[in-house]
Symmetry: C2
Subunit: 339 residues, 2 copies
Amino acid sequence: MSGNIYSVASQAGVSISTVSRALRGDPRIRQSTRKRVEEAAAELHYVPQAAAQRLAGTPIQALGIVLPHIEGTYYAELAVGFEMRASEFQTSVLLLLANPKSDQRASVRRLVGQVDGVAFMAMSAATDELISEIALRMPVVTVARTQLDGVPAIFAESVASADELTTHLIETGRRNPVFIGQVDPGSDISARYEGFSAALRRASMDVPDNINVAMDEDTGRSLAQKFVSRGLKYDALVCGNDEIAVALVHELQELGVRVPEQVSVVGWDDIRVSRYLRPGLTTVCQPVAQLGALAAEHLHRLLAGESVDDRVVLPTTIVHRQSCGCTTEESITTQEGES
Amino acid sequence: MSGNIYSVASQAGVSISTVSRALRGDPRIRQSTRKRVEEAAAELHYVPQAAAQRLAGTPIQALGIVLPHIEGTYYAELAVGFEMRASEFQTSVLLLLANPKSDQRASVRRLVGQVDGVAFMAMSAATDELISEIALRMPVVTVARTQLDGVPAIFAESVASADELTTHLIETGRRNPVFIGQVDPGSDISARYEGFSAALRRASMDVPDNINVAMDEDTGRSLAQKFVSRGLKYDALVCGNDEIAVALVHELQELGVRVPEQVSVVGWDDIRVSRYLRPGLTTVCQPVAQLGALAAEHLHRLLAGESVDDRVVLPTTIVHRQSCGCTTEESITTQEGES
DNA sequence: CTGAAAGCGCTTACAG
DNA sequence: CTGAAAGCGCTTACAG
């Protein structure tokens, strides 16, 4: 569409070698020559084609990030964290939303051709097989999904905080808690159910099956209606995320159920709404942007030939508000290994 | 890091021309040859380097999207809308968050070297000058920011809906409304203030200056405190976005002010919280994902040599909830030109 | 301090 | 149906 290095060279009356060197800040180029080149480049609105630079050997770094196609702040924040750290490394970010409708494999391979490393975030971003295949080609990290052999993984702590949250509910007198959310093997959610189960077992209570539903607002609303029409037999709802928790609280209240007096509700993610709900939603706050940033950083280090931890688990914080039925207002940070 | 087209060729016992053609689905290649090539490629985990393909002439499409670095759902949804439409065109998306701290110009130019077209979203994404310069090089569109000469622009309707919303407040008896938000020339927010002003003038009321503050939650909270400590002299707060509106409502209530009885509050964006607030926040819903999708589509068409509308304004919808003090529950869609 | 030339990994007319 | 060769726009040893 516009000038290339040859046009700049002829405009400046030098060779393309000189143009290249002048623009890349090679100290050998004379000041006056450099200036002439820069003026010519500016005049022609010249920007080097990254494709050619890359092919010629310049390490133009670009990283890819694959997210499931889901609205909501969680994935956005992951992407923001990733991009911000990447930009500190002068690294571009390619964003791919794994669209279940289209050919995931084809999209991912298209992405792979354009980047030096990829982060797969969340279980549904891609199949284990696809990720393993890509990992043979270039640095790959995963975030919040089953760890694959030889692929560094990053998590937010889930088991211990779910355990703690559930224990807290038990200690404040709840006897019939249930876990709400889809427990796909390897997912964050399944780790939360695991922690939930552990707490119940420790208290010698039966562990009920999870209520296996999509964790969105619509589902929350209809679930609340179902609960109320059939008679609510639980006294605590431990939700896989805040979205469904918020919708549950809101709809239960609309239907005349008192939260937390009749039923405690807790969620996960500390989305914005949770703070403004009445009662405020007790939830677990994850360092989401940090997860993203760490993914970018690991890829960058891998590309530099450095090594990174095979598995990192970032601590989460339980945010106590009123929906759990307690009165404390403190936040407790939970690291892996505690319980 | 791993095989190139030569290694695949030798593995399959053919020339690189044949590898290229086989993998790109050229019908001239014999079935059996194609199969051999595909097997070799699979075995070597071969993925063509986009940089080389692009240089050799294949139109590997990639589009860039520049957003201000802001958390929150609005920009995320823009990006999602953009990516989804782009992926329908087999087009990759490079994401750049304009980081005020780093050298914006350098980041944008790095992006420009890697894409075929760019969308600049929101006023603060980049300076007019930078955008105009890029537009000389490749297709560019802007979203929700001042229109530049020769650069197709996309907006969500703002003036008419702000006017309508304000008129609604006046009709329900408000006499001292004020607009809250930073009114940067050319921004969406400034268009909202314009509509706000028009409504007041039509009602022969004085137009107060906007309260010129950042539109985030912290500001909302401290503003509410200031209002209360100095005696609230307004009876309607028209906010530039929902974030500050929600924080205002919440904090005012904490301080004993009744909303909407003592003061109406309305916002913009229909973020998730708005629905769960009590009273529900009256606000304006923008087709955000659509804005993003349209930007991607326009760039794609520009690249295909087609023309696009120089200026598109998408309709918004006023969502009446209770914070404005009215009892209607309807939503009204506002297009440009109405008022 | 600067230039001519090789080469990066592909695609695609042009031959056969 | 397949291959040899030119060329895309750069960078960077190698000469000078």
